[in-house]
């Protein structure tokens, strides 16, 4: 896998019904090598403020057209700048970076659990796993109904979906983790992949442990370099660990067994 820096031309960058932005980029073929779960480090500004790049999961990649897709939520000055880039404009990208999801055996039964904007890296994962003839079921947790529009792309891949909304405007009312807890026994999954709020991923990992299902999750942290040089995005996966892992280089994807969460 070759890491490179390039200018990606923006084809489309619009706010969707979900409230989130979807960006379509035309880039050189670099992304065809990208693994699901890897990220791009994007310069979200022209000058010195905002200064640092921002990491974005690769949401999807279309091999035939060379189009790269990102999905992002307005969070601060960086994403605000990004949301203002017009079609035909360029963004400065470094990537693909980090360690992505590992693939299960072909034909495996896979459960995806997404929460909010954490759905982003799971789409590209779903595409690659579908190609590997895996059977996929997606549990998705959203605040409200409008965010479910992001699920259509999964449906188009033939992924089964089951949703939970906090306000009860669609699907199960409550937390997606409660939905997963109810349904998991009957699904006999070989592996679980999850991305979303950390508390959600922690609960998913705990449920997976109950049923002895292996799995992986994707972590987030403020980053500076994105390439493992600055040692800024450090954290201890388990409290007794001596060393800090770096999210950008050792992750962002980690296996459930590497992690220890404080659920209290």
């Amino acid at each position: 896998m070759i890491v490179s820096q390039m200018q990606g031309m923006v084809i489309d960058n619009t706010q969707k019904k979900s409230g989130w932005y979807e960006m379509e980029l035309s880039t050189p073929s670099f992304a065809s090598d990208a693994q699901p779960g890897q990220f791009l480090h994007i310069k979200t500004g022209d000058g010195n403020y905002p200064l640092l790049r921002r990491p974005f999961s690769i949401c999807d990649f279309d091999k035939d057209t060379g189009r790269l897709f990102l999905m992002y939520k307005l969070l601060g000055s960086g994403t605000e700048w990004l949301s203002n880039v017009m079609s035909g404009g360029y963004v400065d990208i470094i990537g693909p970076l980090g360690r992505g999801f590992t693939y299960p055996a072909p034909g495996a039964r896979v459960i995806l659990v997404g929460g909010g904007i954490g759905i982003a890296p799971l789409l590209y994962l779903a595409r690659r796993l579908t190609e590997r003839k895996c059977r996929l079921l997606m549990f998705y947790g959203a605040e409200e109904r409008c965010q479910l529009s992001a699920l259509n792309k999964f449906k188009r891949l033939g992924v089964g979906t089951d949703v939970a909304t906090r306000d009860g405007s669609a699907g199960f009312t409550g937390l997606v983790t409660d939905l997963v807890q109810q349904k998991i026994a009957s699904e006999k999954a070989d592996v679980i992949y999850t991305c979303g709020p950390e508390i959600m991923m922690a609960k998913v990992a705990a449920i997976a442990a109950q049923y002895q299902i292996p799995g992986e999750l994707s972590l987030e942290e403020y980053m500076a370099c994105g390439v493992g040089a600055c040692l800024g995005c450090a954290r201890k996966l388990k409290t007794r660990d001596d060393n800090f892992i770096k999210i950008c280089k050792d992750g962002p994807v980690f296996s459930f067994s590497q992690m220890e969460f404080d659920l209290n």
Binding site: I2, Q5, K43, L51, L52, A224, C225, V227, L231, A234
Partner: protein
């Protein structure tokens, strides 16, 4: 990036101007170095720059024993800058000498080691382990890290301690010794003079300015270590002012840095009295910035008919 700029990166153009500088006995092929802690051991930046083109690579601060660093979160972006509290995480001097140094030397990189001790004796021991025969070109003495409790900045804010630690390392090694000064002092010229008296061959300045940020939701400091070091364009005016002041008071050369993001910034540092410059936070933003600055310095020299970059050192300083 324009195609015009690419033309200037051609070797033939670089050969028409003299970018070499002398940093206290250390000859650099050009004045552009990358700052300690911002470039790892070079590997991470190989996809973006030909590291052999750099004046020097100043490697991550190295301690005697491996050090796991500070609790997370360790970094946070602020207006035109960033705070870090990495806390000198590094694999220790043995790994540096056995694994990372050979990698850089094989690639023809001029390596400046950066050492940090908890005690005077540790600095001495580290100095004795890094001599000419190791292949290292010079030692940068970290006496200004704001993120470690013992040692670190403690050594760099008291003139007597500065004198002692510089003197001790000078005696222990046969390499040029370049203490990195902390800006977190009331009069940096006093510290600079103490370092010079201690035998420093050059001065590196400035390290980060101590700062902090507050998370108003959690009502607590953002950084795990509470305080961190501020770097990036936000500190450039402070760095320039300190270099200007020190250049007027001392005779040894300065390796200047603090928020350099362009060749224009680098020229400001050179004209304020820096013989060489270090790029730090800029590497995170544009991983190819170091080589880009080298190319643009050559560009500037050709456009302005300046044969030697060394002619510009201190050009703006009124003695």
């Amino acid at each position: 990036m324009s195609t015009r700029r690419k033309n200037f990166s051609e070797q033939s153009v670089l050969e028409t101007v003299d970018l070499s500088v002398n940093l206290g006995g250390l000859c650099l092929k050009n004045p552009v170095t990358v700052a300690s802690g911002t470039f790892g051991y070079g590997r991470e930046y190989e996809p973006f720059v030909d590291i052999s083109r750099l004046g020097a690579v100043i490697v991550k601060g190295t301690t005697l024993k491996p050090n796991s660093g500070n609790p997370a979160p360790r970094i946070y972006e602020t207006a035109s800058g960033m705070l870090n509290s990495i806390g000198l995480e590094n694999p220790g001097i043995e790994d540096f000498l056995n694994i990372h140094l050979p990698y850089l030397l094989e690639r023809g990189v001029s390596v400046i080691a950066n050492i940090a001790g908890n005690t005077l004796e540790e600095y001495e021991t580290l100095g004795a382990m890094i001599r000419k025969q190791s292949g290292v070109a010079a030692i940068e003495l970290n006496i200004s890290c704001p993120n470690v409790k013992k040692g670190g900045m403690h050594f760099g804010t008291d003139p007597d301690m500065v004198f002692q630690v510089v003197n001790a390392v000078k005696k222990a090694t046969d390499l040029p010794v370049i203490p990195k000064l902390s800006p977190n002092v009331s009069d940096i010229t006093i510290i600079a003079q103490a370092a010079q008296a201690g035998g420093a061959n050059a001065l590196s300045m400035i390290n980060t300015l101590m700062g902090m940020a507050i998370d108003i939701e959690k009502r607590k400091p953002v950084l795990g270590n509470i305080f961190g070091g501020l770097s990036g364009p936000a500190i450039k005016p402070v760095a320039l002012r300190m270099i200007y002041q020190v250049h007027r008071e001392i005779d040894i050369p300065i390796l200047g840095g603090g928020g350099i993001m362009s060749a224009t910034d680098a020229l400001e540092f050179i004209m304020a009295g820096s013989s060489a410059v270090s790029i730090g936070t800029g590497n995170f933003v544009q991983p190819g910035i170091s080589v880009q600055v080298i190319n643009e310095l050559a560009d500037y020299m050709i456009a302005n008919n300046i044969p030697r970059i060394s002619d510009l050192i201190g050009a703006a300083v009124r003695k």
